[in-house]
Protein backbone atom coordinates (compact mmCIF):
# COMPACT_ATOMS: atom_id res chain seq x y z
CA UNK A 1 0.00 0.00 0.00
CA UNK A 2 2.79 2.28 1.09
CA UNK A 3 4.89 1.17 -1.84
CA UNK A 4 2.04 1.82 -4.17
CA UNK A 5 1.61 5.33 -2.83
CA UNK A 6 5.33 5.96 -3.05
CA UNK A 7 5.35 4.69 -6.59
CA UNK A 8 2.51 7.00 -7.46
CA UNK A 9 4.30 9.97 -5.86
CA UNK A 10 7.55 9.16 -7.64
CA UNK A 11 5.72 8.70 -10.89
CA UNK A 12 3.85 11.90 -10.39
CA UNK A 13 6.92 13.84 -9.46
CA UNK A 14 8.76 12.46 -12.41
CA UNK A 15 5.87 13.39 -14.69
CA UNK A 16 5.79 16.88 -13.31
CA UNK A 17 9.54 17.20 -13.57
CA UNK A 18 9.61 15.70 -17.01
CA UNK A 19 6.69 17.57 -18.58
CA UNK A 20 5.26 20.33 -16.50
CA UNK A 21 8.47 22.14 -15.56
CA UNK A 22 9.72 22.30 -19.16
CA UNK A 23 6.19 23.34 -20.20
CA UNK A 24 6.20 26.16 -17.66
CA UNK A 25 9.67 27.19 -18.61
CA UNK A 26 8.72 27.17 -22.29
CA UNK A 27 5.60 29.20 -21.56
CA UNK A 28 7.62 31.80 -19.69
CA UNK A 29 10.08 31.99 -22.53
CA UNK A 30 7.24 32.27 -25.01
CA UNK A 31 5.62 34.98 -22.91
CA UNK A 32 8.86 36.93 -22.82
CA UNK A 33 9.15 36.60 -26.59
CA UNK A 34 5.51 37.69 -26.97
CA UNK A 35 6.09 40.84 -24.92
CA UNK A 36 9.09 41.66 -27.06
CA UNK A 37 7.03 41.14 -30.19
CA UNK A 38 4.18 43.25 -28.85
CA UNK A 39 6.57 46.03 -27.88
CA UNK A 40 8.12 45.98 -31.33
CA UNK A 41 4.70 46.04 -32.93
CA UNK A 42 3.50 48.91 -30.73
CA UNK A 43 6.63 50.92 -31.51
CA UNK A 44 6.18 50.38 -35.21
CA UNK A 45 2.57 51.39 -35.02
CA UNK A 46 3.38 54.49 -32.97
CA UNK A 47 6.11 55.49 -35.42
CA UNK A 48 3.74 54.92 -38.31
CA UNK A 49 1.04 56.99 -36.65
CA UNK A 50 3.48 59.80 -35.83
CA UNK A 51 4.61 59.92 -39.44
CA UNK A 52 1.20 59.35 -41.02
CA UNK A 53 -0.79 61.76 -38.88
CA UNK A 54 1.79 64.51 -39.21
CA UNK A 55 1.77 64.02 -42.99
CA UNK A 56 -2.03 64.22 -43.06
CA UNK A 57 -1.99 67.32 -40.86
CA UNK A 58 0.59 68.96 -43.10
CA UNK A 59 -1.47 68.04 -46.15
CA UNK A 60 -4.58 69.60 -44.63
CA UNK A 61 -2.70 72.75 -43.68
CA UNK A 62 -1.13 72.98 -47.14
CA UNK A 63 -4.51 72.55 -48.81
CA UNK A 64 -5.92 75.45 -46.81
CA UNK A 65 -2.86 77.64 -47.37
CA UNK A 66 -2.77 76.69 -51.04
CA UNK A 67 -6.40 77.63 -51.51
CA UNK A 68 -5.98 81.01 -49.82
CA UNK A 69 -2.61 81.50 -51.53
CA UNK A 70 -4.14 80.93 -54.95
CA UNK A 71 -6.75 83.53 -54.14
CA UNK A 72 -4.14 86.02 -53.05
CA UNK A 73 -1.93 85.38 -56.08
CA UNK A 74 -4.89 85.94 -58.42
CA UNK A 75 -5.14 89.50 -57.15
CA UNK A 76 -1.63 90.26 -55.92
CA UNK A 77 1.04 88.33 -57.87
CA UNK A 78 3.74 90.46 -56.28
CA UNK A 79 3.46 88.52 -53.01
CA UNK A 80 4.25 85.14 -54.61
CA UNK A 81 7.43 84.67 -52.53
CA UNK A 82 5.43 85.01 -49.34
CA UNK A 83 2.86 82.52 -50.55
CA UNK A 84 5.52 79.94 -51.48
CA UNK A 85 7.13 80.38 -48.06
CA UNK A 86 3.81 79.98 -46.28
CA UNK A 87 2.97 77.00 -48.46
CA UNK A 88 6.21 75.28 -47.40
CA UNK A 89 5.83 75.96 -43.67
CA UNK A 90 3.63 72.93 -42.85
CA UNK A 91 6.43 70.66 -44.14
CA UNK A 92 7.98 71.26 -40.73
CA UNK A 93 5.13 69.26 -39.22
CA UNK A 94 6.09 66.29 -41.39
CA UNK A 95 9.75 66.68 -40.46
CA UNK A 96 8.85 66.69 -36.77
CA UNK A 97 6.70 63.60 -37.33
CA UNK A 98 9.57 61.91 -39.13
CA UNK A 99 12.01 62.67 -36.29
CA UNK A 100 9.48 61.46 -33.72
CA UNK A 101 9.00 58.26 -35.70
CA UNK A 102 12.75 57.60 -35.77
CA UNK A 103 13.05 58.28 -32.05
CA UNK A 104 10.18 55.95 -31.28
CA UNK A 105 11.34 53.10 -33.46
CA UNK A 106 15.02 53.56 -32.52
Amino acid sequence: MIKNRLAKWVFGSTFVAAWLVPAIAFAEEAAAESVEWQTAAAKSMAAGLAMGLSALAAGYAQAKIGSAGAGTLAERPEVSIWIITLQALPEIIVLLGFVSAIMISG
Binding site: S67, A68, G71, T72, A74, E75, R76
Partner: protein, 363 residues
Amino acid sequence: MTSSMKTRKTSPGGKDYGYSNARIRGMRSRLLGEPFLKGLTAAPDTSALIQDLSGTEYGSDLDEALIHGRTAASVDEALKNNLVRTYRKVQGFLNDEASYIVSTLLGRWDVFNVKTILRGNHMHLSAQEIADGLLPAGALSLVELEALTILGDIKAVVDTAVTWGLPYAPAMREGYAEYMRSGELADLELALDRYYTHLASSRLAGRGLNARVAREILGVQIDTMNLVMVFRLQKADLESVKVEEFFLDGGKSISQDLYNELAHMSDVDEVIDRLKGTPYGHTLDAAVLKYLEENSISVFERTLEDFHMRKALAVGRGDPLGIGIAIAYLWAKQNEVTNLRIIVKGKSVGMPMERVRRELILV
Protein backbone atom coordinates in the same frame (compact mmCIF):
# COMPACT_ATOMS: atom_id res chain seq x y z
CA MET B 1 -34.41 85.39 -70.13
CA THR B 2 -34.04 83.53 -66.92
CA SER B 3 -34.74 84.28 -63.34
CA SER B 4 -31.39 85.20 -62.08
CA MET B 5 -31.71 84.64 -58.38
CA LYS B 6 -32.17 80.98 -59.21
CA THR B 7 -29.31 80.93 -61.72
CA ARG B 8 -26.44 78.66 -60.74
CA LYS B 9 -22.96 79.12 -62.06
CA THR B 10 -19.67 77.36 -62.02
CA SER B 11 -18.05 78.30 -58.75
CA PRO B 12 -16.07 76.59 -56.01
CA GLY B 13 -18.48 74.32 -54.21
CA GLY B 14 -19.07 73.78 -50.51
CA LYS B 15 -18.21 76.28 -47.86
CA ASP B 16 -14.52 76.90 -48.42
CA TYR B 17 -14.00 80.61 -47.86
CA GLY B 18 -10.20 80.45 -47.97
CA TYR B 19 -9.80 81.16 -51.67
CA SER B 20 -12.54 83.75 -52.04
CA ASN B 21 -11.74 85.66 -48.87
CA ALA B 22 -8.03 85.82 -49.68
CA ARG B 23 -8.88 87.09 -53.13
CA ILE B 24 -11.30 89.65 -51.76
CA ARG B 25 -8.69 90.85 -49.29
CA GLY B 26 -6.37 91.34 -52.25
CA MET B 27 -9.04 93.38 -54.02
CA ARG B 28 -9.79 95.33 -50.86
CA SER B 29 -6.16 96.40 -50.67
CA ARG B 30 -6.74 98.32 -53.91
CA LEU B 31 -9.68 100.33 -52.63
CA LEU B 32 -8.97 104.03 -52.68
CA GLY B 33 -8.20 105.54 -49.32
CA GLU B 34 -9.47 108.73 -47.77
CA PRO B 35 -6.35 110.77 -48.70
CA PHE B 36 -6.78 109.83 -52.37
CA LEU B 37 -10.45 110.82 -52.36
CA LYS B 38 -9.68 114.11 -50.66
CA GLY B 39 -6.92 114.65 -53.21
CA LEU B 40 -9.44 114.10 -56.00
CA THR B 41 -11.71 116.77 -54.56
CA ALA B 42 -8.81 119.19 -54.99
CA ALA B 43 -8.45 118.39 -58.71
CA PRO B 44 -8.90 121.62 -60.69
CA ASP B 45 -11.24 120.15 -63.30
CA THR B 46 -12.72 116.95 -64.72
CA SER B 47 -9.70 116.33 -66.97
CA ALA B 48 -7.33 116.36 -64.00
CA LEU B 49 -9.71 114.10 -62.15
CA ILE B 50 -9.77 111.65 -65.07
CA GLN B 51 -5.99 111.66 -65.14
CA ASP B 52 -5.79 110.84 -61.43
CA LEU B 53 -8.34 108.06 -61.78
CA SER B 54 -6.63 106.56 -64.84
CA GLY B 55 -3.87 105.15 -62.66
CA THR B 56 -6.32 103.23 -60.49
CA GLU B 57 -8.59 100.22 -60.85
CA TYR B 58 -10.93 102.40 -62.88
CA GLY B 59 -8.40 102.96 -65.67
CA SER B 60 -9.68 100.33 -68.10
CA ASP B 61 -13.32 101.31 -67.57
CA LEU B 62 -12.43 104.96 -68.12
CA ASP B 63 -10.61 104.09 -71.36
CA GLU B 64 -13.76 102.43 -72.66
CA ALA B 65 -16.22 105.08 -71.51
CA LEU B 66 -14.15 108.09 -72.56
CA ILE B 67 -14.53 107.09 -76.22
CA HIS B 68 -17.81 109.01 -75.98
CA GLY B 69 -15.99 112.13 -74.76
CA ARG B 70 -14.10 113.31 -71.70
CA THR B 71 -17.22 114.39 -69.88
CA ALA B 72 -18.48 113.87 -66.34
CA ALA B 73 -21.22 111.65 -67.74
CA SER B 74 -18.63 109.35 -69.32
CA VAL B 75 -16.70 109.14 -66.06
CA ASP B 76 -19.92 108.37 -64.23
CA GLU B 77 -20.63 105.62 -66.74
CA ALA B 78 -17.12 104.20 -66.21
CA LEU B 79 -17.56 104.19 -62.43
CA LYS B 80 -20.88 102.35 -62.69
CA ASN B 81 -19.41 99.84 -65.14
CA ASN B 82 -16.52 99.21 -62.78
CA LEU B 83 -18.87 98.59 -59.87
CA VAL B 84 -20.98 96.16 -61.86
CA ARG B 85 -17.91 94.37 -63.24
CA THR B 86 -16.43 94.04 -59.75
CA TYR B 87 -19.67 92.68 -58.31
CA ARG B 88 -19.94 90.13 -61.11
CA LYS B 89 -16.30 89.15 -60.65
CA VAL B 90 -16.74 88.57 -56.91
CA GLN B 91 -19.89 86.55 -57.46
CA GLY B 92 -18.00 84.49 -60.02
CA PHE B 93 -15.51 83.08 -57.54
CA LEU B 94 -17.58 82.80 -54.38
CA ASN B 95 -18.45 79.35 -53.11
CA ASP B 96 -22.02 78.07 -53.31
CA GLU B 97 -23.11 79.23 -49.87
CA ALA B 98 -21.54 82.68 -50.20
CA SER B 99 -22.94 83.10 -53.70
CA TYR B 100 -26.42 82.27 -52.43
CA ILE B 101 -26.16 84.78 -49.57
CA VAL B 102 -24.60 87.55 -51.65
CA SER B 103 -27.10 87.18 -54.50
CA THR B 104 -29.88 87.45 -51.92
CA LEU B 105 -28.47 90.64 -50.43
CA LEU B 106 -27.75 92.14 -53.85
CA GLY B 107 -31.37 91.55 -54.79
CA ARG B 108 -31.94 95.06 -53.45
CA TRP B 109 -30.25 96.36 -56.60
CA ASP B 110 -32.79 94.51 -58.72
CA VAL B 111 -35.56 96.18 -56.77
CA PHE B 112 -33.80 99.51 -57.18
CA ASN B 113 -33.51 99.03 -60.95
CA VAL B 114 -37.06 97.83 -61.43
CA LYS B 115 -38.29 100.80 -59.39
CA THR B 116 -36.16 103.13 -61.49
CA ILE B 117 -37.75 101.77 -64.67
CA LEU B 118 -41.26 102.02 -63.22
CA ARG B 119 -40.65 105.57 -61.97
CA GLY B 120 -39.20 106.57 -65.30
CA ASN B 121 -42.24 105.23 -67.12
CA HIS B 122 -44.58 106.82 -64.60
CA MET B 123 -42.92 110.19 -65.24
CA HIS B 124 -42.74 109.58 -69.02
CA LEU B 125 -38.94 109.83 -69.17
CA SER B 126 -37.07 108.70 -72.25
CA ALA B 127 -35.45 105.27 -72.36
CA GLN B 128 -32.02 106.89 -72.27
CA GLU B 129 -32.86 108.94 -69.19
CA ILE B 130 -34.11 105.83 -67.42
CA ALA B 131 -31.08 103.80 -68.50
CA ASP B 132 -28.78 106.45 -67.03
CA GLY B 133 -30.26 105.78 -63.61
CA LEU B 134 -29.78 102.01 -63.75
CA LEU B 135 -27.06 100.17 -61.91
CA PRO B 136 -27.21 96.47 -62.78
CA ALA B 137 -25.33 95.22 -59.71
CA GLY B 138 -27.97 92.64 -58.86
CA ALA B 139 -28.99 89.51 -60.67
CA LEU B 140 -30.81 91.25 -63.53
CA SER B 141 -28.37 91.95 -66.34
CA LEU B 142 -28.01 95.25 -68.17
CA VAL B 143 -29.47 93.61 -71.29
CA GLU B 144 -32.59 92.53 -69.40
CA LEU B 145 -32.96 95.93 -67.76
CA GLU B 146 -32.46 97.83 -71.02
CA ALA B 147 -35.04 95.62 -72.69
CA LEU B 148 -37.49 96.59 -69.93
CA THR B 149 -36.48 100.24 -70.22
CA ILE B 150 -37.40 100.63 -73.87
CA LEU B 151 -40.95 99.33 -73.39
CA GLY B 152 -42.14 102.79 -72.45
CA ASP B 153 -45.17 101.78 -70.42
CA ILE B 154 -45.63 100.38 -66.90
CA LYS B 155 -48.14 97.75 -68.03
CA ALA B 156 -45.73 96.53 -70.70
CA VAL B 157 -42.93 96.33 -68.14
CA VAL B 158 -45.08 94.28 -65.77
CA ASP B 159 -46.32 92.00 -68.56
CA THR B 160 -42.80 91.42 -69.84
CA ALA B 161 -41.53 90.65 -66.34
CA VAL B 162 -44.32 88.10 -65.95
CA THR B 163 -43.57 86.57 -69.36
CA TRP B 164 -39.88 86.27 -68.53
CA GLY B 165 -40.69 84.79 -65.14
CA LEU B 166 -38.60 87.32 -63.26
CA PRO B 167 -38.48 86.75 -59.49
CA TYR B 168 -40.31 90.02 -58.86
CA ALA B 169 -43.04 89.45 -61.43
CA PRO B 170 -45.72 88.26 -58.94
CA ALA B 171 -45.15 91.38 -56.80
CA MET B 172 -45.22 93.61 -59.87
CA ARG B 173 -48.47 92.08 -61.06
CA GLU B 174 -50.05 92.43 -57.63
CA GLY B 175 -48.73 95.99 -57.19
CA TYR B 176 -49.85 96.98 -60.67
CA ALA B 177 -53.47 96.14 -59.85
CA GLU B 178 -53.21 98.39 -56.80
CA TYR B 179 -51.46 101.09 -58.85
CA MET B 180 -54.24 101.06 -61.42
CA ARG B 181 -56.80 101.45 -58.65
CA SER B 182 -55.07 104.26 -56.74
CA GLY B 183 -52.83 105.83 -59.38
CA GLU B 184 -50.08 105.95 -56.75
CA LEU B 185 -46.73 104.53 -57.81
CA ALA B 186 -45.91 104.06 -54.11
CA ASP B 187 -48.31 101.08 -54.07
CA LEU B 188 -46.37 99.34 -56.81
CA GLU B 189 -43.04 100.15 -55.15
CA LEU B 190 -44.31 98.95 -51.77
CA ALA B 191 -45.35 95.63 -53.29
CA LEU B 192 -41.82 95.23 -54.69
CA ASP B 193 -40.18 96.13 -51.37
CA ARG B 194 -42.45 93.81 -49.47
CA TYR B 195 -41.78 90.97 -51.87
CA TYR B 196 -38.03 91.47 -51.71
CA THR B 197 -37.83 91.68 -47.91
CA HIS B 198 -40.00 88.59 -47.55
CA LEU B 199 -38.03 86.67 -50.18
CA ALA B 200 -34.66 87.68 -48.75
CA SER B 201 -35.70 86.93 -45.16
CA SER B 202 -36.90 83.47 -46.11
CA ARG B 203 -33.75 82.76 -48.15
CA LEU B 204 -31.55 83.74 -45.22
CA ALA B 205 -33.56 81.85 -42.62
CA GLY B 206 -30.99 79.05 -42.41
CA ARG B 207 -28.78 78.24 -39.45
CA GLY B 208 -25.11 78.98 -39.06
CA LEU B 209 -22.92 81.98 -38.50
CA ASN B 210 -22.87 83.12 -42.13
CA ALA B 211 -26.65 83.15 -42.47
CA ARG B 212 -26.84 85.02 -39.15
CA VAL B 213 -24.40 87.69 -40.34
CA ALA B 214 -26.35 88.16 -43.57
CA ARG B 215 -29.64 88.27 -41.66
CA GLU B 216 -28.27 91.00 -39.45
CA ILE B 217 -27.33 93.15 -42.45
CA LEU B 218 -30.70 92.52 -44.06
CA GLY B 219 -32.41 93.32 -40.75
CA VAL B 220 -30.63 96.66 -40.49
CA GLN B 221 -31.50 97.39 -44.12
CA ILE B 222 -35.19 96.70 -43.49
CA ASP B 223 -35.12 98.78 -40.30
CA THR B 224 -33.54 101.59 -42.30
CA MET B 225 -36.31 101.39 -44.90
CA ASN B 226 -38.97 101.42 -42.18
CA LEU B 227 -37.42 104.37 -40.37
CA VAL B 228 -37.01 106.33 -43.58
CA MET B 229 -40.70 105.73 -44.17
CA VAL B 230 -41.48 106.94 -40.62
CA PHE B 231 -39.60 110.19 -41.27
CA ARG B 232 -41.29 110.67 -44.63
CA LEU B 233 -44.67 110.10 -43.04
CA GLN B 234 -43.99 113.06 -40.78
CA LYS B 235 -44.70 115.20 -43.81
CA ALA B 236 -47.69 113.19 -44.95
CA ASP B 237 -51.37 113.64 -44.28
CA LEU B 238 -51.96 110.76 -41.86
CA GLU B 239 -55.72 110.98 -42.22
CA SER B 240 -55.58 109.69 -45.77
CA VAL B 241 -52.72 107.24 -45.34
CA LYS B 242 -52.82 103.86 -43.63
CA VAL B 243 -49.35 103.98 -42.14
CA GLU B 244 -49.38 100.34 -40.99
CA GLU B 245 -49.48 99.20 -44.60
CA PHE B 246 -46.06 100.66 -45.28
CA PHE B 247 -44.35 98.50 -42.66
CA LEU B 248 -41.86 95.96 -44.00
CA ASP B 249 -41.48 92.78 -42.03
CA GLY B 250 -38.11 91.21 -41.18
CA GLY B 251 -36.33 94.12 -39.50
CA LYS B 252 -33.88 93.70 -36.67
CA SER B 253 -34.98 96.22 -34.06
CA ILE B 254 -38.09 97.96 -35.42
CA SER B 255 -41.18 95.86 -34.74
CA GLN B 256 -44.61 96.50 -36.24
CA ASP B 257 -45.84 97.93 -32.92
CA LEU B 258 -42.89 100.30 -32.59
CA TYR B 259 -43.28 101.34 -36.21
CA ASN B 260 -46.98 102.10 -35.73
CA GLU B 261 -46.17 104.09 -32.62
CA LEU B 262 -43.43 106.06 -34.41
CA ALA B 263 -45.53 106.70 -37.49
CA HIS B 264 -48.30 108.27 -35.44
CA MET B 265 -46.01 110.64 -33.57
CA SER B 266 -46.53 114.31 -34.11
CA ASP B 267 -42.97 115.47 -34.79
CA VAL B 268 -39.41 114.36 -35.46
CA ASP B 269 -38.19 115.12 -31.92
CA GLU B 270 -40.72 112.71 -30.50
CA VAL B 271 -39.59 110.00 -32.94
CA ILE B 272 -35.93 110.53 -32.02
CA ASP B 273 -36.78 110.37 -28.30
CA ARG B 274 -38.72 107.13 -28.73
CA LEU B 275 -35.82 105.56 -30.69
CA LYS B 276 -33.29 106.22 -27.91
CA GLY B 277 -33.51 102.67 -26.60
CA THR B 278 -32.76 101.17 -30.03
CA PRO B 279 -29.44 100.83 -31.91
CA TYR B 280 -30.48 103.81 -34.06
CA GLY B 281 -31.12 106.20 -31.19
CA HIS B 282 -27.60 107.50 -30.68
CA THR B 283 -26.87 107.89 -34.41
CA LEU B 284 -30.10 109.74 -35.14
CA ASP B 285 -29.74 111.89 -32.04
CA ALA B 286 -26.36 113.05 -33.34
CA ALA B 287 -27.99 114.11 -36.60
CA VAL B 288 -30.63 116.32 -35.01
CA LEU B 289 -28.46 119.43 -35.09
CA LYS B 290 -27.84 119.05 -38.81
CA TYR B 291 -31.54 118.47 -39.33
CA LEU B 292 -32.34 121.71 -37.54
CA GLU B 293 -29.83 123.53 -39.77
CA GLU B 294 -31.09 122.10 -43.04
CA ASN B 295 -34.70 121.40 -42.04
CA SER B 296 -34.74 118.39 -44.32
CA ILE B 297 -35.73 114.79 -43.61
CA SER B 298 -32.99 113.71 -46.02
CA VAL B 299 -30.51 114.32 -43.18
CA PHE B 300 -31.98 111.36 -41.31
CA GLU B 301 -32.18 109.28 -44.47
CA ARG B 302 -28.50 109.89 -45.07
CA THR B 303 -27.67 109.13 -41.42
CA LEU B 304 -29.54 105.84 -41.58
CA GLU B 305 -27.84 104.88 -44.83
CA ASP B 306 -24.47 105.61 -43.23
CA PHE B 307 -25.45 103.47 -40.26
CA HIS B 308 -26.34 100.62 -42.59
CA MET B 309 -23.03 101.06 -44.40
CA ARG B 310 -21.09 101.01 -41.12
CA LYS B 311 -22.83 97.83 -40.04
CA ALA B 312 -22.04 96.16 -43.35
CA LEU B 313 -18.39 97.19 -43.14
CA ALA B 314 -18.17 96.01 -39.53
CA VAL B 315 -19.05 92.41 -40.41
CA GLY B 316 -15.78 92.25 -42.34
CA ARG B 317 -13.93 92.40 -39.04
CA GLY B 318 -15.57 89.18 -37.82
CA ASP B 319 -14.87 85.63 -38.92
CA PRO B 320 -11.90 85.66 -41.35
CA LEU B 321 -13.28 82.52 -43.00
CA GLY B 322 -16.89 83.68 -43.20
CA ILE B 323 -19.23 85.63 -45.45
CA GLY B 324 -18.51 88.92 -43.65
CA ILE B 325 -15.40 89.62 -45.72
CA ALA B 326 -17.35 89.47 -48.99
CA ILE B 327 -20.26 91.54 -47.68
CA ALA B 328 -17.96 94.21 -46.25
CA TYR B 329 -16.00 94.43 -49.50
CA LEU B 330 -19.09 94.75 -51.70
CA TRP B 331 -20.44 97.53 -49.50
CA ALA B 332 -17.05 99.26 -49.31
CA LYS B 333 -16.80 99.16 -53.10
CA GLN B 334 -20.26 100.65 -53.42
CA ASN B 335 -19.28 103.34 -50.95
CA GLU B 336 -16.15 104.14 -52.93
CA VAL B 337 -18.02 104.40 -56.23
CA THR B 338 -20.69 106.56 -54.58
CA ASN B 339 -17.99 108.90 -53.27
CA LEU B 340 -16.29 109.08 -56.66
CA ARG B 341 -19.60 109.85 -58.35
CA ILE B 342 -20.21 112.63 -55.83
CA ILE B 343 -16.78 114.09 -56.58
CA VAL B 344 -17.26 113.84 -60.35
CA LYS B 345 -20.72 115.35 -60.18
CA GLY B 346 -19.53 118.06 -57.81
CA LYS B 347 -16.64 118.96 -60.10
CA SER B 348 -18.84 119.07 -63.17
CA VAL B 349 -21.28 121.52 -61.59
CA GLY B 350 -18.57 123.61 -59.97
CA MET B 351 -19.40 122.71 -56.39
CA PRO B 352 -16.92 124.12 -53.84
CA MET B 353 -14.29 121.66 -52.63
CA GLU B 354 -15.40 121.89 -48.99
CA ARG B 355 -19.00 121.16 -49.91
CA VAL B 356 -17.94 118.10 -51.95
CA ARG B 357 -15.87 116.84 -49.02
CA ARG B 358 -18.85 117.23 -46.70
CA GLU B 359 -20.97 115.15 -49.04
CA LEU B 360 -18.54 112.22 -49.08
CA ILE B 361 -19.44 109.13 -47.09
CA LEU B 362 -16.18 108.46 -45.28
CA VAL B 363 -16.69 105.48 -43.04
